[in-house]
């Protein structure tokens, strides 16, 4: 069950290259196995964060203070594109990220964020770029404020920006709702749909294998 999200004021790290894919966020070999939760934080952005010899890359923003403390990422266009691996979100979460701000995200990554109580915020590219510039101008000291209830974010210099969010997603984050539990409450409707659909599209409903 995701943790509720309401307000956050935190250090934000700009990672502005376009098309940062989920393979770059977490390499596949970190995700092979059924007991990986809790092991992923140190491998987030592995190919950018570490040198081939395994040492930290001092040039990568999340290896520098104060960005090491970042709980928000300000991202370039199409962040989280590519693979559906939810491990990308888990790895960000395990390194302490609670919100990502960008002009657009990969569709599946975007959905996976909500499932884990991470808030993805879509803003005009010009605003995202201005946030990144403001953060860089304060060497990362300037914090970003997010108020999900009010749907606003504040820049380090205090500029307020409104953001849009699907009301259902917003409520889910505010309350930390579990979608599986909610849908199971509608099981009668699911079964009624299937009963009617079975006569309309019988070829969909294959015979049950004896377990």
């Amino acid at each position: 069950m995701p943790k509720p999200f309401n307000q956050l004021t935190a250090i934000a790290a700009p990672i502005m290259r376009s098309n940062i894919d989920t393979d770059v966020i977490i390499r596949i070999e970190r995700l092979v196995g059924n007991n990986i939760r809790g092991t992923l934080g140190k491998w987030a952005f592995g190919s950018l964060r570490y040198l081939p010899n395994g040492l930290e890359n001092p040039d990568f923003i999340l290896n520098r203070e104060p960005y090491r403390q970042a709980e928000i990422l300000v991202t370039g266009p199409n962040f989280g594109c590519g693979s559906s691996r939810e491990g990308a979100v888990w790895s960000l979460q395990e390194m302490g990220i609670r919100a990502v701000i960008g002009s657009g995200f990969g569709d599946i990554f975007f959905a996976n964020c909500f499932q884990n109580g991470i808030l993805p915020i879509v803003l005009d590219k010009a605003i995202v770029d201005s946030l990144a510039s403001e953060i860089e101008a304060t060497q990362g000291a300037g914090r970003i404020g997010i108020d999900l209830e009010a749907q606003t974010i504040s820049s380090p210099s205090g500029k307020q920006h409104h953001f849009e969010i699907d009301p259902r997603r917003r409520e889910g984050l505010l309350l930390g709702l579990d979608e599986v539990a909610l849908t199971l409450q509608r099981d009668d409707e699911i079964r009624a749909f299937q009963a009617a659909d079975r006569s309309a599209r019988p070829w969909i409903y294959l015979a049950r294998k004896s377990a």
């Binding site: 376009s18 059924n34 939810e86 657009g104 599986v180 599209r201 019988p202 294998k209 377990a211």
Partner: protein, 467 residues
Amino acid sequence: MPGRTLLAKIWDQHVIAQISEDTDLLHIDRHLLHDLGGSRGLLDLKSRGLKVHDPELTFATPDHAISTARGRAGTIKIGQELLAALRIETSASGIQMFDIDQPGQGIVHVIGPELGLSLPGCLIVCGDSHTCTHGGLGALAFGIGSSELTHVLATQALIQRRPKSMRVRFEGKIPLGVVAKDLILALIGHVGAAGGTGHAVEYAGSAIRSMPIEGRLTICNLSIELGAKMGLIAPDETTYEYLRGRPYAPQGEMWEQAVNAWRQLPSDRDAVFDKEVVIDVEKIIPQVTWGISPEHVIGVDGRIPDPSAIGDPARRTAVETALEYMGLQPGAPIAGTPVDWVFIGSCTNSRLSDLRAAAEIAGGRKVAAGVRAWVVPGSETVKREAVAEGLDRLFIDAGFEWREPGCSMCLAANGETVSPGQRSVSTSNRNFIGRQGPQARTHLASPASAAAAAIAGAITDVRAMGR
């Protein structure tokens, strides 16, 4: 009122309940599991004290983490554990699993169509972003994350926001030496890696109508690489001909009933799309990627772009990063770039027609010295059909390695990797940083272009090698 799109027709047929203005609870007709996430989902369900809602609509096969060496030798330990867990958990839940060495095993997006599990008008999900592949048969199919996977196991339903609609019309006669992979790569180069984000893309036009199903599957497979998690093609006679008689396709009277229903699915003539793109296929030549995003693509006669000519800083940084990673010089021709590896396989291009196209180039020739070239068939059935035609022999005689079916080096989850710094021409779908292994450099191309690169030892224009 304007006509309805293929997307709208399929979507509306699956609405169990409206959740909000643009969000519905949808019925899932087919749920495909693989070894990477399948047992994890089933164990997650068990830990919540829940059972699989409809095991007979759920199917599993190992593909991601198994070795593709003969006898599956060298399957990594964790891959063996995932395979064992998938066997135990699917069996306990009454889910059909297609195990290694059995017909039906293979890359999930190859076996779904091949078995007739994927049907027009079907809503299909799988914990894999290339699930959009199945759209080639007129299904609405998309990749989901682990949480949604558990949701589908528990409820056979999923809450989804209705995407916007986009239509891409590929018009004209496809030139000789150009194939589906070139068409879709050219489109991605044209609209960009986020050109379809938030949309379901319907591919249409004369080039699609004359394209066999396996080409359509390749087209839809790369939808996610232009940002669209769903891509689909209206079913037609080619679709029905392909599906007729497949093991899980309807038979007899039910087949007739199904085809009648499927004939109603294509977008109405007056349907309106949120976005439209038209591509003149007659101008397309064989494509190859040069960078770290599928949008970094050019014709094989092209030159590597110069970042200093790009105004937008995010794009410029991306191109600079790409050229540094790929070890390429701005302005240099892409043809002639020496390669170390060639990979023919993946859910994009591992079907029989793909192997035949590669074989046509490779037959009677030899892989260049210093190049390692693999052919990894997409499924056990593809493998057997290819062997029956003698393609395995042809590839082996030409110096290729003939492997067992699986995802293999497309994403290197099974430990099969391109070595650091080495350059690969691959028929897969992603040229991302480290995708084929840490520091591996990937160029995406069609099966024939990949075979041509293996023979020439360099990226090369396949049209000069055609027969």
